[in-house]
């Protein structure tokens, strides 16, 4: 992977509570598990949940990184400000949001752009954004390779906002091919059907994530991505498929790999489920 530019995936939505953070975490975990050097950046600067959802603590945040890069860009090393999330052999880096809201106010768009550009060593950078067209978010969408645009279509105002957001992205000249529409909490029994949303948007939904409230709740409580605590959940499988689509790998190769791993006993699926000591969170590695 040396010499390749980082692929930046912006996880964006136009309503809060759509599963952006869960999606960003599981994309980062899946990409890391695939062997890619991955960094997850929590850009919900005021109320970011990545650290809470991964049960991580850190002394350094994006606010420290900003101070350092503005002081001496030449000698700035992003690694000094990242927190590692480790689970077994796989790990990914996290750039936490500021600890205090006042620090969030001091974050400057140009500095964040510089910080993201300094992450050259990563194959993938996953950005967890807020549900608003802010200057920061627009700058990040500009930088990104793909926009993972998440929506939950269980409520007409949410569908309206999804449509408004999509039209705005197109009006802002983001290429259609760059915008990956991801429907979260897909439910066949809902009165708003995916095909109706597709008709409204005039395009196909790129990926559907099924609903699994219990799995998500358990994952947050355990402080682990779904693949490390609920591997058999349909939602976890769907996240793997999404990772495959972004890495251009086939589902078959993963199934074969998992079968091989189970056969050789290198990774035990049940150990994920029951939090076997083979799987470490950052907390228990500290």
């Amino acid at each position: 992977m040396e010499g390749h530019s980082s692929i930046i995936i912006a996880v964006f939505s136009t309503s809060s509570g759509n599963g952006k953070t869960i999606t960003a975490i599981n994309l980062a975990a899946g990409l890391a598990e695939e062997g890619y050097r991955t960094c997850l950046v929590d850009l919900d600067l005021q109320f970011g949940d990545v650290m809470g959802y991964l049960d991580l603590v850190s002394d350094y945040t994006i606010a420290d990184a900003q101070r350092a890069i503005l002081r001496d860009e030449q000698h700035f090393k992003i690694d000094d400000y990242l927190t590692e999330y480790k689970c077994g052999e796989a790990s990914f880096a996290v750039l936490p949001p500021p600890r205090e809201i006042n620090d969030a106010y001091q974050i400057n768009v140009e500095a964040v752009e510089k910080i993201i550009r300094s992450m050259r060593g990563f194959n993938f950078i996953v950005l967890d954004l807020t549900a608003v067209f802010s200057t920061l978010n627009l700058a990040m969408l500009d930088l990104s390779t793909v926009i993972n645009y998440v929506g939950v279509m269980d409520f007409l105002p949410a569908v309206k906002n999804y449509k408004v957001g999509y039209d705005t992205l197109l009006r802002f000249d983001y290429e259609e091919s760059k915008i990956c529409l991801v429907e979260n909490m897909t439910d066949q029994d809902r009165y708003i059907k995916s095909r109706d949303v597709e008709r409204l948007l005039g395009t196909k939904i790129y990926h559907h994530l099924p609903s699994d409230y219990q799995a998500v709740t358990y994952s947050i409580r355990m402080g682990k991505p779904l693949m490390y605590c609920m591997p058999l959940s349909p939602l976890t499988q769907s996240y793997w498929q999404l990772v495959d689509r972004y890495t251009n790998r086939s589902k078959q190769s993963r199934a074969a790999l998992q079968y091989e791993e189970q056969k050789t006993g290198r990774k035990k699926i049940l150990s994920w489920l029951f939090g076997d000591d083979d799987w470490h969170t950052a907390n228990n590695t500290k």
Partner: protein, 368 residues
């Protein structure tokens, strides 16, 4: 209805002009004119006036209003301003006047101002309530709109909702309304408006509730300046006894400015991921100072499955302060709000509605 009018104006030319306007309309019987407010206060009793039109360009004259109200309880009072001043209008309303109009006026302006005041409700200062949500997806728009309906229903007074979620506001959709104007136009025009003119920027959704919708496109949010929006909010106080502000998610210049301008801030967060108490505590740090200065700050948790006293105490222990309200999850509310039937099909009698109605009752009675 005929009005027996006392007109008070310092400027002789303006007085003559306005007197002429009143004399030309049979609805008004101009009993007397004065240049000085204190003279009018002392001498008007002989004319048994029913309406005072009083020059309020001098801020010092506001102090006379309470004395007029006491001396002439049967009369209505309108302040006359050369330029709109929210602070003067608010002081007049608080003192018991019926509002303010710009001079020189037409007789239609006077009649309209009196009609607005009658519809507005009791002669009491406006309550401005701002709904703030740290992370969104908290049901704050649902709570704000249901509270508006309950306030109007229980008090018989008028309620205005301003959708200040400038990128993705849903208030109009909850009422299946397609307003002709929105907050961008109102903030653009505000320096040229009077309350009567501002009323046209609101959309009547019925039963004493009016809404001002958000922009048509997210990028139009940039056209809304915080200080002008505050002027809209303050002028809306002349139209509505209760002004409800549905703020954008998180802290930004608009949400901070409006939260500061409101007399009551309602912080609302939905129980779902387990991080809500942390978000609420973080938000309260920002509101802490206002809380100390007498502004009312309330905390509400929505989507609560286990609405028991012990659960509430547990959350209060984690939060370090009392929780004002636990709102249970109510699927039917989401259904009627999502399909624009909030006004028509509000599921009365459900725990959610009863909790909001009780909160509305507390606001009306002044307990909150």
């Amino acid at each position: 209805m005929n009005y027996r009018v006392i007109l008070v104006e310092r400027d002789a030319d303006m007085l003559s002009r306005m007197a002429g306007i009143l004399k030309a309309d049979d609805t008004f019987d101009l009993a007397s004119t004065y240049h000085e407010v204190d003279m009018a206060l002392g001498q008007s009793s002989v004319f048994r006036p029913t309406l005072f039109l009083i020059d309020m360009d001098s801020a010092d004259d506001v102090k006379y209003i309470a004395r007029f109200v006491k001396a002439y309880p049967q009369a209505q009072i309108l302040g006359l301003l050369s330029q709109w001043k929210s602070s003067t209008a608010e002081k007049l309303l608080a003192a018991g006047a019926s509002g303010c109009i710009l001079k020189p006026f037409s007789t239609a302006d006077v009649v309209e101002a009196l009609a607005i005041y009658k519809r507005r409700g009791k002669p009491l200062p406006t309550r401005t309530l701002a709904f703030f949500s740290p992370k969104g997806h908290s049901g704050s728009t649902t709570m704000a709109t249901v509270l508006a309906i309950e306030l109007a229903k229980l008090s018989g007074e008028s309620v205005g909702i301003i959708d200040a979620d400038l990128q993705f506001g849903d208030v109009a959709m909850f009422f299946d309304a397609v307003p002709r104007h929105n907050v961008v136009e109102a903030t653009h025009d505000i320096n040229l408006l009077t309350p009567a003119a501002l009323e046209h920027y609101f959309h009547k959704v019925g039963n004493g509730v009016w809404i001002m919708s958000g922009p048509l496109q997210p990028e139009h949010a940039e056209l809304v300046e915080a200080d002008r929006l505050i002027e809209v909010v303050r002028m809306a106080g002349s139209l509505f006894r209760y002004v409800i502000l549905d703020l954008p998610v998180g802290f930004n210049p608009i949400s901070l400015a409006l939260a500061e301008c409101a007399d009551t801030d309602i912080l609302i967060s939905m129980i779902s991921s387990g991080q809500e108490v942390r978000h609420m505590k973080r938000s309260l740090k920002m509101f802490h100072m206002w809380d100390n200065y007498g502004k009312q700050v309330y905390t509400i948790f929505s989507g609560v499955h286990n609405c028991t006293e012990s659960h509430k105490r547990k959350i209060e222990g984690e939060l370090g302060r009392s929780v004002t309200l636990f709102l249970p999850e109510e699927r039917r509310i989401k259904d009627v709000a999502g399909s624009g039937r909030l006004m028509k099909d509000l599921p009365e009698g459900t725990p959610f509605i009863e909790a909001v109605a009780k909160f509305a009752g507390d606001i009306i009675s002044g307990r909150r």
